[in-house]
Subunit: 260 residues, 2 copies
DNA sequence: ATGCCTTTGTGAACGCGTGCACAAAGATGG
DNA sequence: CCATCTTTGTGCACGCGTTCACAAAGGCAT
């Protein structure tokens, strides 16, 4: 996973497991596609295939929402789209602010997937005065000074952080102070927030690193376990360990530990 | 989490649990930050705080790699950076291709976090002939026609898909046919790949939807459980269910189920 | 109405991941 | 050399998530 929850150790809101909640958007997407093709009903088997999950898992997931299926037939597509949307809270409008309008922030602002799911970009905010007023995705970029007033005036409760790592915690603190209670963090840093604030993170490079791990394993296996075994025990002595990444350190990793 | 593995049901490679692998990049980042500040050693407690995890979990994670700590002292930062890098396969160079140079693709191309972790962007590929030759992040965009030759000539095994959803599966198939065995998918679609190919996905809108769910729950709770309970049982009749998102459908969701 | 066929909904078993709590190990000071 | 203190490494228990397998339920044909 590219993301993980922070704080609040796996609360199961009203009885819906966290793992199920994470899959609901997946089902919703598959159902929306079916709805657009005017497919009236779908079986758990078909829908599971479309969503890329096990059919038993899908049925159990839906069972937490209630009994919305018809035995022998399947699920009513339109009805299920509505039920899941309601459960996820997508039947209402969620204004969001995006802070940090660099390459990634601009990409997010232009991303159609937000608007189509009940999310409305209330404002784009950047610290660079040169950016202020420039239109991005049809919206003028606002300066950081306006952050608090924008959030209060629009009743925004969800914020997206797409700043460099170094600025993320500071931005986060201001968002929280202004009343934001949910944060989607794209900056490669661990954010600390007070209780009651949800943080989800998306880290691009972490995903690649996980892929690299499996890729390496595949490469090691391909010439038989012997090759992998032979390469392993000869762990280099401490002295010869190259300082991988200990050099200049690009990307702007920020020191996140306080000196003891 | 913004991502999830596909295929291969939670293989624990050589004994390292999947959950641990997913956290190693987190530890690596925190350690790199310490390394840059020339901190020689760190305790599990400090490092855990920096990585945003439980210290017991961190120690257990490290125990899968071996006994790299010193009791009463902690872990040698440089040594641990090297060990984790090696375990993740980051001591070697991983050429990657990025397919789909829109807003997101460009953002990824410019993202410094890749280069700093042993990943090298071998090529940027786009289907639009008008893009061909244009420099993005210092690299000329190549046309899709060259996809196969680029992958073969550079020995690329990791591909990043940042195309619209409608093109993703087709691109995926070509990548796999050309020899790619690991794919990071940003398109909002379920990709189907043959065995032996790893797919990880990052879905921006899914993360927001999960946040919305929790946000809704918070809003419902704030006026006491009574309010939430009162709003629930009056589930609207099937007929009155608005077709949430059943309209035009932006974003380019693609039908992913085959008609039975 | 009756029997058959399809598909849901779920009880139960299993496995993974997490966190506690403590013994073992090493450093440090006398 | 011994005592004490710190911190690691891990055995154990618990809870969540996944999967199997099947009974119950509804549609449909006869």
């Amino acid at each position: 996973m590219a993301t993980g929850r922070t704080h609040r150790p796996a609360t199961r809101s009203r009885g819906i497991p966290e793992a199920t909640v994470a899959r609901l958007p997946l089902y919703l997407r598959a159902l929306t596609a079916l709805s657009e093709r005017s497919v009236p009903t779908v079986s758990s088997e078909e829908l599971a295939a479309a969503a890329g999950v096990n059919s038993a898992k899908l049925r159990k997931d839906f069972s937490y929402l209630g009994s919305y299926g018809t035995r022998g037939v399947g699920y009513d597509v339109e009805y299920l789209v509505y039920q899941i949307s309601r459960e996820l809270g997508l039947t209402q409008d969620w204004p969001v602010v995006i802070v940090g309008i660099g390459n990634l922030g601009a990409a997010l602002a232009n991303y159609g997937g937000f608007a189509s799911r009940g999310f409305r970009v209330a404002a784009l905010i950047d610290a660079d005065p040169a950016m202020a007023g420039k239109p991005v995705a049809g919206l003028p970029v606002r300066h950081t000074d306006e952050l608090e007033s924008i959030i209060r005036d629009n009743g925004v409760s969800i914020g997206v952080i797409a700043t460099p790592a170094g600025a993320a915690q500071q931005v986060c603190d201001r968002l929280v102070a202004a009343g934001i209670t949910s944060i989607l963090n794209f900056a490669p840093t661990v954010l600390s927030v007070p209780d009651g604030v949800d943080v989800r993170k998306v880290d691009l490079s972490i995903e690649l690193q996980i892929l690299a791990f499996h890729e390496q394993r595949k490469a090691g296996e391909e010439s038989g376990p012997a090759a992998a075994a032979a390469a392993r025990p000869g762990a280099p002595a401490r002295a010869s360990a190259p300082a991988a990444g200990g050099g200049k350190g690009p990307e702007g990793d920020v020191p996140a530990v306080m000196p003891a």
